[in-house]
Subunit: 340 residues, 2 copies
């Protein structure tokens, strides 16, 4: 049973035309006289022909594939992002080669190498940091890179984040207006721009009112670390009356420690505010007040920019910040006269 894969040449013979004509029929934008097209399509259908994407990519240099590297999938924000990315890219005719990489340089390095070997047309890195050596290599190979939810000072590297500094400031203002005085922060990982920026905006917001946080602890994007931090905060002499947590994922852990372990009332005894507005934040069990990170718009911005850079390699890099509102729910005291 030979049953070889059916090739463009087979179709050509069947249809009585040349191989290039078959190619043209299957290449959008190429013109072929209707009668030929019909003969080719009929033959293709009869034989079950589909162009070999590998061979096509080899010659065009366009793999129509985007590399996606993700670090934290346990944070549901990123599964939302993954889902939206998948649809958005597929709509534009691109496929996704995905890697889950720990945030270690060695891991990321290897993964990027793999992506380059596969001639990806572009790379999106969600919440993973990248070394300068690697960005240089990408520049050399002319492969566009988008940092998603992670900034970098490098001016010719495109990043898409939410307006983290602003977001942090909004939280500070809300808590101050709510009359809180002993405000603590369990931050996102301080090795990431997201964690740093939110903290900075938050501290600036407090400073504008002449306040400063009574404590800042690095929650490392981890439930365990954040829970431990929450316990520590209440074991110290001066217990906070409000906690801003660097993202929702950590905030849920903090909420549980406060309510279940420490038997505190939220927001009666202490207000809690998160960041991201993942779907779970709206669940009855949490009702978390949080800053929305608009995954939809962030993804669209990222994909738009990636496409622009792919089609014109000279597209200027940009640092895109998407603004998001504070979503007021029940985990933080609501200031009198708060208008939405």
């Amino acid at each position: 049973m030979p049953s070889r894969r059916v090739t463009a040449l087979d179709v050509a013979k069947e249809a009585g035309v040349s191989q290039p004509t078959v190619s043209r029929v299957f290449t959008p934008g190429m013109k072929v006289i209707p009668e030929m097209e019909k003969r080719v399509r009929d033959a293709a259908k009869k034989l079950g022909y589909r162009p070999n994407a590998l061979a096509r990519s080899l010659i065009t240099g366009q793999s129509k594939t985007i590399g996606l590297i993700v670090a934290y999938l346990n944070n549901p924000f990123y599964t939302e992002v993954l889902e939206k990315l998948s649809h958005s890219l597929r709509e534009r005719g691109y496929n996704i080669m995905i890697f889950l990489a720990a945030n270690h340089a060695a891991d990321v390095d290897g993964v990027v190498q793999d992506l380059l070997d596969h001639q990806v047309d572009g790379i999106i890195m969600a919440s993973v940091s990248i070394s300068s050596a690697l960005t240089d290599r990408l520049k050399e190979e002319d492969v566009p890179l988008i940092l998603f939810n992670r900034g970098k000072d490098d001016p010719d590297l495109t990043s898409v984040t939410s307006a983290n500094v602003d977001g942090g400031r909004k939280v500070a203002e809300f808590l101050i207006q709510g009359g809180h005085t002993r405000i603590a922060h369990i931050s996102g990982w301080q090795g990431a721009s997201t964690g740093l920026d939110r903290r900075r905006g938050f501290e600036e917001g407090l400073a504008a009112a002449g306040l400063e946080p009574i404590a800042v602890v690095d929650g490392l994007f981890s439930r365990e670390a954040s829970a431990a931090a929450a316990r520590a905060l209440f074991a110290s002499a001066q217990a906070p009356d409000a906690i801003f947590v660097g993202n929702d994922h950590m905030a849920f852990a903090v909420l549980e420690v406060l309510r279940n372990e420490l038997a505190l009332d939220v927001p009666g005894d202490v207000s809690v505010i998160g960041y991201d507005d993942v779907a779970m934040s709206a669940w009855d069990s949490f009702q978390l007040t949080t800053v929305r990170q608009p995954a939809n718009r962030m993804v669209e911005a990222a994909v738009d920019h990636l496409m622009a850079q792919i089609s014109s390699k000279e597209t200027a890099a940009d640092h895109i910040e998407i603004d998001g509102p504070l979503i007021v729910r029940k985990s933080a005291r609501i200031p009198k006269g708060w208008k939405e």
Copy 2:
């Protein structure tokens, strides 16, 4: 600035050898005399050469890529699976091309076509159903397929699931021993084998004790549908004293309705049991008693079988069922003398 991609031929010239020799150096298993190898490797490093995976795949017919199709990423069980799959496949030298597909035939069809165009070596479908027409096509193209967490009667289709019937039965026995008498079931989608099998085992388990569920409602794997079902159950004349929910994801929604909307005590007024044992089930907020679906072992089994089918196309299909224990927490009354 030409700065073309550096090819095996460039390396060959630089090293003063032939292109095939370069190829052999980079093909594991091929023998080359040490001196040549060193010259080639030095030249490669100097020029920054890496083999083009596309060209390689085109000729070997092995893309070293696995297609992955996932339906429900909002259920955290599947993000766990995705993470483990990613690592397991990468360890074995395979890459993942991922698609999130709604569970519509048209969607799945298109996605599979895309995967075939890219010459994937195998396909894993997690919780998505497939038409017979499509399995035929895959068989014709000789591309192995593994159904993950979804069975099919087709005897020469490999599937990996947990022991769903057994699991359902375990839940029934636990509830019966707990003295429950008005037992309801909010099932997984009855269009999926997972949902059907769990229900069947559950009903068998009840029947063995001469019972039958007072109600069975299809939760459609959806939080909203499940919440509505829970409300309906308690709006009817005979309220249940126990509910078995088809998976944890839905069970969380049910728990919230019971506790927050209906002000019921769980497990005082009603016991709730889920299925999957996702990480969240252990959270203080839920403490969900549930049947563990061992993602690790399921993934390993799936990958092992896929590899076997890839290396020997004649590997027999199999229906693999991985057994998982009932994890007893606090959402369901614990039978007296229950021994763990």
